[in-house]
Structures are given as C-alpha cells and as structure tokens.
Symmetry: C2
Subunit: 203 residues, 2 copies
DNA sequence: TTCGATGAGTACTGGACAGTCTAGTACTGT
DNA sequence: ACAGTACTAGACTGTCCAGTACTCATCGAA
C-alpha cells in the first residue's frame, strides 16, 4: 500500500523513464503505459510508487527544478569580489548562457509553459527558483560591487534583470520557437555584447 | 461540398468560437463539440467549413499572427526621421510594450509554444513575423538614424534585438509563468529604463 | 517445502474525443 | 411544385488513455 522509498531501484527507474518521456513529449503526449514500458516495470508498480499521473509529473519537475537551481546558483559566486569586472562578467555570462540553454532545461521550459494552466503552482515555482532567484542573487552581487565602486547600480534588482535578459533573450526566444542551434562562438558573442551594453549603462 | 466563402456568417462564427476556445484552453484542451456549441452551429457545419481540427487551428492562428504583425509594424514608422531620439524611443517603447503584452497575444504565445512540437511551421511563422520582423524593421530605422548621426549602431540588427528585449523581457518572462498584472506605471518604467540602458550603449 | 510478498503481464472499465453518418428541416431560385 | 443546398440534432465508430483488477511466476524466509 505505502509507496516505495525514494532510492528504491524501481522508483528511480520509473522516475527516469517518466522524466525522459515527459520532457520529450510533454504531459499530454506521455501515457502511463509508455512510462511503465520504458521503465521495464508493470503499470501496477508505477501506481504503487506514485498516486497518479499528476503526482508523478509534479514530483519529477520539482526535483528537476531544484537541480537546475543548484547549477545556476553555483555559477554566481566569486563575482562580488572581482577586480576586473569586464572580464569576470563576460566569463560569468558565458557560463550562464551555457547553463540556461541546455537542451534539457529548454525542454523543461517549454513543457512547463504548456501546462501552466493546469499546474499554475509548478509554473510559479519554476519562475521563482529560476529567473527570479537568479535576479535576486545577482542583485546582491551588484550591490556589493556598487558599494566597492566597481559598478553603479542604483536599482540593483533592475540592473540584474537587465543583465540577465541582455545575455539570454536573443538565443532563448529563438529557441522557444524553432530548433536552431547556436555555435559556441555565436553564444560567446551574445554574451560579450550583452556585457558591453550592460557596462555602458552601469559601469 | 466546397467550403464556404471566408466572409460567410457561419464561417466567421466558427472562427470566432474556435479562436476564443483555442486561446483560452489550448489546442488539446478544446474539442470540436465545444467549438460547435459556442458557435451555435452543428458539428457538421464546422466540418463543412474546415477540413479538420488541425486545419481550423492553423487557419486561425496564422490569421491572428498576421493581424498582430500589422499592429507592431504600424508602430515603427516615423522613428527614422526623429530629431529627439530619447523621447521618441521612449514613446515607441511604451507603445511596443502595450501591443506585445496584450493578454490575447500572450495567450497566443503560450499556445504556440505548447504546440511547437506538433506544429513546427506555425511556431516558425510566429517567430518570423513577430520578433524577427520587428527586429529587422527596427534595425532599418536604427541604421538610418546612425547614418544621420543620431545613433551609433555598428550592428543595427543586434542593436534592435538588444532594444527589443531590454524593453520587453522583464514583464514578458514573468507573464509566461504567472498571472501577475502590471500597472501602466510599472510598464512605463520598464520602457524608460530599457531606453536609458540602450542609449547609454548606442547613443 | 511451503508460505507470503512482490511484481510482470494483461485484460478490463469508464470516459473523452475526432470524425462520420443519417434523418429530417429550412431556404434558395426555377 | 421541384431540385439543390445549407443546416440541425444526435447517434455512432474507432481510438486513446487513466486507473483498476486479476492471474501467474519468482523468490526469500521459516
């Protein structure tokens, strides 16, 4: 009756299979039979581990969001202590682009937008622990840098948002609607030019 | 046998009903029965006017895209001849935000992203006649202004993209994931600050 | 060896929905 | 009056799918 512990092998197999299919085909495009088949498990076992399809979906997406958040957060540190802002911002921007544009995260973004009506909480969690979290963390760094006279950001949160979207928007929005691929050189160019514009306004 | 002319009343009623429901509930969330009911028309009549659900969807979305495109394009003119760039860019930015963030267009954006896998052509058309079209048109204006010494945009297309996303990204991305509402004052602030950053880099 | 639990395999239920078909009604111009 | 056409109302088919029920094999512990 009770569900399996989180680390049980079947439980993990089901989560892996479900993650793969949900990200590839979306919520509506994935059936519980497919999940069971890919996990090499009977449907009964799926339902022993997860109450229903919605629960399974929510559990997977929230876990993935948390994992993505950890990645982006890890990238921000050691910015506030920078003495060569231009260089360090460029490096940060390039890493940030690489993280956010990972195919796996782009897929997740699409899937979440698609189900935002049915799972509004999930969409809110995504935004709060994705963009919003990045913005506040980055704003903290900018404030520090402003105090140290390296930047001039009267409204650090707004500056962080400008920075974030200057870097990401061009490739991100294109990727939402078509399957283009960007070369590392192109992405680096977007990063550098974004930083250039940012510094022109906030240095 | 042949389908009705585009302006026949039933044809229009069906399109209106379908537009309403598709934008409110998405493609998968809308049934042909609901469309027929809302249009106060029999299902048979729906199928006499439109081959199938996909065709109906495509026809509506492409028509709406074209209409949205007309709106955004109409807003760009008279920028190249400006002598007071700061003021005119601000005005332009405020109008641009108001157009792009219309609830109806935000809903469309969501719906298209949700079905981008099933209708890749539709998503491509949306991007091409939405953001991309704006960018190229705006780039033309910037180039003109650069020639006239009012701006300095060595890469006008990149500058246009920076401008566009500086203005739109903050509210746009938030609206994709939650149902916040922005006051006109907030939107005007985003417009003005976006223009400020843009001019710092490209004046 | 036997018992009990686990889970694979698979059939089944109930409901949604795209698209078709039929029977009959209303309106058109000839 | 008649023919052609547009339309309604609703039944019907075939498919898909979430969730349940049931059977049978396996395997570890007593």
């Amino acid at each position: 009756m009770s569900s399996q512990p989180r680390f049980a092998p079947k439980h993990l197999a089901i989560m892996d299979a479900a993650r793969t299919l949900f990200l590839r085909n979306g919520y509506g495009g994935t059936s519980m039979d497919e999940i069971a088949a890919l996990a090499a498990v009977s449907k009964q076992t799926v339902y022993k581990n997860f109450a229903d399809k919605e629960r399974l979906f929510i559990e997977i997406i929230t876990a993935d969001i948390a994992q993505a958040e950890a990645q982006t957060q890890a990238n921000v540190h050691a910015l506030a202590t920078s003495d060569d802002i231009a260089t360090d911002l460029r490096d940060f921007a390039r890493r940030h682009i690489a993280i956010v544009l990972q195919p796996h995260l782009m897929q997740m973004r699409r899937v979440i937008i698609a189900v935002a009506d049915r799972f509004p909480d999930l969409a809110a969690i995504w935004y709060a622990s994705g963009p919003e979290r990045s913005h506040t963390t980055l704003a903290g760094q900018f404030q520090e840098l402003t105090l140290r006279g390296r930047l001039n950001t009267p409204d650090p949160l707004l500056a962080a948002q400008h920075f974030n979207w200057l870097i990401l928007s061009i490739p991100l929005n294109q990727l939402m609607f078509s399957a283009v691929t960007f070369t590392p050189a192109e992405l680096a160019h977007y990063a550098d030019e974004g930083v250039r514009v940012f510094l022109a306004a906030y240095a």
